[in-house]
Amino acid sequence: MAFDVAAVRAQFPILNHTADGRPPLHYLDNGATAQMPDAVLAAMQAHETTARSNVHRSVHRLAEAATRAYEGARQSMARFVGAAAEEIVFTSGTTAAINLVAHCFGARLQAGDEVLVSVLEHHSNIVPWQMLRERSGIVLKALPATEDGRIDLERLDDLVTPRTRLIALTHAANVTGAVTDVARVVEAAQSVGAEVLLDGAQMVPHGPLDVTALGVGFYCFSGHKMFGPNGIGVLRGRSDLLADMPPFMGGGEMIAHVSLDRTRYAEPPMRFEAGTPPITPAIGMAAAAEWLTGQDLAGAEAHLAALTAQAIDGLSAMKGISVIGPSGSQARLPVISFTMDPLHPHDVAQILDSHGVAVRGGHHCAQPFMDSRDIAGTVRASLALYNDTDDIDALLHGLEQVRALL
């Protein structure tokens, strides 16, 4: 049976909401933030109205219910990525998760140890390592990109050395949608005893995965890109790595015992969750993971591949448009970046918005990649499973209007 996109769309209230005087919404900015279905909204509403309380400390009924819900969310996220619950650290998002690793795993690194990233990384997977370099004197190296917007893994042999301690790469590039060949990265890391961190922010909206089978030490992702709320994310750290890491921030929840002289820290994952955690967002993120897992993901993959092909074919037929990224359908997400010579991506995005088409224009927090192409930015259409052919038609029609106006 064909993927029932209409049934999926019906679950997203915002897709059926039209602001006064505005054209219908064609939301193609899912790489920045995806929308939330009724199931997620309902889960958070239910928690706030029946079990709102703090977790882990109080003994009253609401606190017990909140603790069960929060720890249940941890178990849900563990199932979603094929990990153990004690390997799931809730953070405020992918950026916080990577920063946590840079601080805590980074605390074990010595001057001269090497961290390898790529030119295709989001700033969130570059800046924390530059900051660690300033603190500790590590050496930061970067894999270049291929012409079609993939991480150039041919260069692994040159850039991985006996001093490499961590290879930190995106699982799928937020600008080009290219999916990284993780097995090859893990093999290179293991050859020198290094760990692998993956930025999974763009990958997880496409379904559950098995980080244990992937063989990576760290996996980081956000709730708001996978149909959950913002302000919540996950760091999955392999248990032996987390056990060896010092805390990130100090305060409530992360302690075993505090005296005025010293503090003994809690075991992971609590060691890394100082302060009252984002309880309702965690519950919403878990609801999103469960909702996503319950969708026809094979159908969604085929549906999105068809939409991606429709978009790329349409864009390729337009004068002055260059797609920045893989041209084929293999090992790519439905994330399509392009330039529209000689126009600026913000001007293109602004006019598309006036036609109800929401895309992202700019550098997408990937300035090193933009610099490598000597462009200010791209227009990016990033698709989710609720997008349909009307959305792609609206994008292509909107671009014709841009060309007519400017």
């Binding site: 600026h344 913000h346 006019i351 918005d353 933009m370």
Partner: protein, 137 residues
């Protein structure tokens, strides 16, 4: 259709008044817009506080280009204090706290788009950065 890109606005951006680098400027700086990656390199020749020549090289959106074009048309002969006041007047106008400064009436539709306000102000930031760089040299 987007209201920003009206004929007069497009003509203003297209004029690119003042575009081009100066030889041996007294002050120069390249300013980036962190929100979108746009950049403008601003060159100034100064007589004390007064701008006697101005040139720039720009890679930016039409909103920023149009604002730079106004700077190119109006900045020479004015003082740095004038330009600083102009910048604050534009900022207040974009926030609907005051009327449009002279020359900026075509920017009325931009006011509704908060993400584009920094595009309007980037040339003024570049002037300030150029002067700051010259002072620190």
């Amino acid at each position: 259709m987007s209201e920003i890109y009206q004929t007069a606005f497009l003509k203003l951006a297209g004029r690119a008044s003042g575009a081009g680098r100066l030889d041996a400027p007294d002050a120069t700086a390249t300013t980036h817009n962190p929100m979108c990656g746009d950049r403008i390199t601003m060159d100034l020749k100064l007589d004390g506080e007064r701008i006697v020549a101005l040139g720039y090289e720009i890679r930016a959106c039409l909103v920023c280009q149009a604002s730079a074009s106004i700077v190119g048309e109006t900045a020479v002969g004015r003082t740095l204090s004038d330009l600083s006041e102009q910048r604050e007047a534009i900022r207040a106008y974009l926030k609907s706290e005051s009327e449009a400064p002279v020359d900026y009436s075509d920017f009325e539709p931009v006011k509704a788009h908060i993400s584009r306000h920094h595009c309007v102000l980037l040339p003024y930031q570049a002037i300030q950065d150029a002067v700051s760089a010259a002072i620190s040299d």
